[in-house]
């Protein structure tokens, strides 16, 4: 079955084209079922690959390449043919991710049939979703970084199209531009990193690049630059600090589209890219630390911002950013397995959260949680599934989020204790704001009677995917964690020549040694656990923050929260303004604009006036001089030659008596005989 793995990205790719170009645009089109069927086939293929990997019938990693194109090149006098293959590389993480992506995409599409029904661009939405998924699957399965990069950029395009799906309104238009430009800012770093990799290794094949790093051929500084470039790309795509500004605005798109972006495709791509090129980070401790701290800062900032938002989708967006920070921090702290494990579980419960939120919005027609409340009575199925999702993301024992988050915290504890405490704090905030969302939406009594009265449970096409995802959110973690399966599926890659050992010069011994040993320790303790007391404390604290959320937000009013808000005004403003990161970028753009205006002024007034106009004036004077010279000397010479000819003719004519035929004849005879003489005597 795995030899057909190349079909997994190709099927939805072609399905999207069929949907885009086949049939007429119709609010009730049947075209979406093409995409759903295609995704079903992909899911079956992915599951078969995954199951083969679990049972051991399929040996991973599986790589197969086809000829794409060759370039004849000559470097330093040696000519050779560079071969660029295209192919699939399915390793453990890819097998797991393929299942998660196809499953979430399938659920999103089934859900969207009900959610988007009646939209004027009904069919086109599904084509975009399919194309988006195809790009993500291509990124996951490709064995070639160039193809990966192409898919990466295609996802940028798809996110642009989906965020701005309702482009008639101003908000989505602004949001799509913001998302596109912010991610491109990061992509420029990734692009440079890829160029550097090709310049050094001479190949885009992941396996060849890995061998290059494995043998320790890459200098540590270059590895660091490449790592930072990849991180920049990942920061743009996976919404890490400080490039997370686009993700909250991306909520302007259709809610199921947001679910896709947040759970399966767009934001997971950055994490996945880092995991695909993890050997770069293994070769560069600096890049590794940068990843960890970037993830940590992102996780903390985003979680704090989620505490004060009243827009249900915004809270979820911040929580995505925060969870991505968790993953990035785990990868940076050496927890390869835990980071990708969390990515998988997060895909399920975050898709569920978004689809659940979509169900609520579909029912009450508002995003503002202050106008909801008490919806558990009206929407019992949505309420139950959301409860499971919220418990899972908060990390309550037994559900999937608990296992992955526990593993991340253990890895971070082994890496750095300060990081651990910040991350634990973030985890507590996560539990608090998720239950704040939950209680505000579903608990207590209704706040807006009009909206509550019209609220109703969503149709089966919406609740069905919710139930499927809820089951996965509940059991995926335990299933994958059972018997160390996740460690078997997603083993941490290693490289033979570790940078710490290579740089162990005596002068730097004091600096290099602790880092290296910490590194070694984290590698050895990949399945290490938290100390028991810490583990218990963490669980108690999580439950405590859930209780706190319950106490503060269970009723129709939330006086306690308002009181805190009143007393801590500046802090709330800070969080509400998203730590002024947006304002920072806005100011940056404004300053750039001012600088550009100044440059324009200099160009118009100094460069144009002095250099361009001055040079023109100089040239004009020169031309006038040249014109005068031309008139005086050159033209006179020309006229003189003409005049001379004229004068000669007139003079000669005066020798001849006019009208005498015999004289003409005589001259003709003389001329003829002269000519004849000249010719004959030659």
């Amino acid at each position: 079955m795995i030899e057909h793995a190349y079909l997994i990205p190709l099927i939805p790719f072609f399905a999207s084209f069929i949907m885009l170009f086949g049939g007429k645009e119709d609010p009730h089109s049947n075209m979406p079922w093409v995409g759903i069927a295609a995704m079903g086939v992909c899911l079956a293929l992915s599951v078969s690959v995954f199951w083969g990997a679990v049972t051991g019938t399929v040996a991973l990693p599986y790589e197969h390449n086809w000829h794409w194109f060759s370039i004849a090149a000559s470097i330093a006098g040696r000519s050779f043919v560079y071969d660029m293959p295209v192919g699939v590389l399915i390793d453990g993480p890819a097998a797991v991710t393929l299942v998660a992506v196809t499953l979430v995409s399938l659920m999103v599409q089934v859900y969207s049939v009900a959610y988007m029904h009646g939209d004027v661009r009904f069919k086109r939405y599904f084509a975009f979703v399919s194309f988006f998924t195809a790009a993500m699957l291509g990124l996951v399965a490709s064995s070639n970084l160039l193809v990966t990069f192409a898919c990466w950029e295609l996802m940028g395009l798809c996110s642009y199209l989906l965020i701005g799906f309702w482009f008639e309104r101003e908000g989505p238009c602004e949001a799509q531009k913001k998302a596109f430009m912010t991610t491109k800012l990061g992509d420029s770093g990734l692009y440079l990193a890829l160029l550097l990799i090709f310049a050094k290794v001479g190949s885009f094949q992941l396996s060849q690049i890995y061998q290059f790093f494995d043998k320790g051929l890459m200098p540590a500084t270059i590895a660091t630059v490449i790592g930072i470039g990849i991180l920049a790309g990942a920061a743009g795509k996976s919404a890490q600090a400080p490039l997370f500004i686009w993700l909250p605005d991306a909520m302007e798109g259709p809610t199921p589209g947001s679910a896709l972006i947040h759970a399966a495709t767009m934001v997971a791509a950055g994490i996945l890219l880092v995991s695909k090129t993890y050997f770069v980070f293994l070769a560069s401790p600096t890049a590794m630390e940068s990843a960890a701290w970037m993830g940590l800062i992102t996780a903390f900032l985003a979680a704090s911002m989620a505490l004060v938002s009243y827009d249900i989708k915004r809270v979820l967006a911040f929580s995505t950013v925060s969870q991505l920070g968790f993953m990035m921090c785990a990868l940076g702290a050496g927890g390869f397995t835990s980071g990708l494990f969390h990515m998988t579980t997060h895909a399920f419960f975050k898709a569920l959260l978004f689809l659940g939120a979509g169900s609520v919005i579909h029912s009450v027609h508002t995003n503002d949680m202050r106008q909801m409340g008490g919806l558990s009575k009206k929407m019992p199925l949505t309420f139950l599934t959301m409860l499971i999702a919220v418990l899972a993301i908060a990390g309550v024992p037994g559900l999937s989020g608990y296992y992955s988050k526990d593993m991340i915290l253990a890895d971070v504890w082994n890496h750095d204790h300060l990081m651990f405490w910040i991350l634990l704090c973030t985890a507590l905030m996560t539990a608090f704001y998720m239950f704040r969302l939950f209680f505000l939406t579903f608990w207590g009594d209704d706040r807006d009677h009009e909206k509550f009265h019209h609220a109703h449970e969503s149709p089966a096409l919406i609740t069905g995917p919710l139930v499927v995802l809820a089951v996965l959110s509940a059991f995926a973690g335990a299933g994958l964690n059972h018997d160390g399966l996740v460690h078997k599926l997603i083993p941490k890659p290693t490289i033979s020549v570790m940078p710490g050992a290579a740089v162990a010069a005596p002068a730097h011994a004091s600096e290099a040694k602790p880092e290296a040993s910490a590194h070694q320790a984290s590698t050895e303790h990949h399945d290490g656990h938290l100390p028991a007391w810490l583990h218990m404390t963490a669980i108690v604290l999580v439950l405590g923050s859930i209780t706190l959320a319950f106490l503060m937000y269970r009723g129709p009013t939330y006086a306690a929260a308002d009181a805190i808000k009143a007393n801590l005004g500046p802090v709330f403003t800070l969080l509400d303004r998203r730590w002024y990161v947006d304002d920072f970028f806005y100011a940056l753009v404004t300053v750039s604009d001012k600088v550009a205006a100044l440059a324009f002024w200099i160009d118009a007034n100094v460069v144009d006036r002095v250099f361009v106009d001055g040079w023109g004036l100089l040239m004009r004077i020169f031309a006038q001089i040249s014109d005068a010279f031309d008139n005086l000397f050159v033209d006179s010479a020309v006229d003189g030659v003409g005049g001379l000819g004229n004068d000669l003719g007139v003079g000669l004519r005066s020798l001849v008596r006019e009208g005498q035929v015999q004289e003409y004849l005589m001259y003709a005879a003389i001329a003829f005989s002269l000519a004849a003489t000249l010719i004959l005597t030659r």
Binding site: E658, Q660, Q662, L665
Partner: protein, 101 residues
């Protein structure tokens, strides 16, 4: 009798024609001188044929053609002369300056 002899006679005849055409005042004399030059050319043609290509008839044929053309030309020329004479009452060529620019 070699080719040179014929050519000498022909060139003498031609020069006499040229001399006549340049010096005669009477237009009739000029026409006659021109006929002399034609005949010098005819002698050349016949001589060249006789000495260089005795097997062919091209030279003699061409000479015959020239005679015919010369006869026709004389006819036209004399007709023109008559017309000019009637208009100007003179046969001296220096008085003919109707086309003078």
């Amino acid at each position: 009798m070699t080719l040179a002899h014929y050519l000498t006679v022909a060139s003498l005849l031609f020069l006499i024609g040229v001399f006549g055409a340049l010096t005669r005042r009477n237009i009739i004399g000029i026409l006659m001188s021109i006929e002399l030059m034609f005949n010098a050319a005819n002698i050349n043609l016949a001589a060249f044929e006789r000495f260089l290509h005795p097997e062919g008839v091209a030279g003699a044929t061409l000479a015959l053609f020239i005679m015919t053309v010369a006869a026709a030309e004389v006819v036209v020329g004399l007709a023109l002369l008559l017309a000019i004479y009637r208009n100007t009452d003179t046969a001296y060529v220096e008085d003919y300056n109707l086309l003078k620019g």
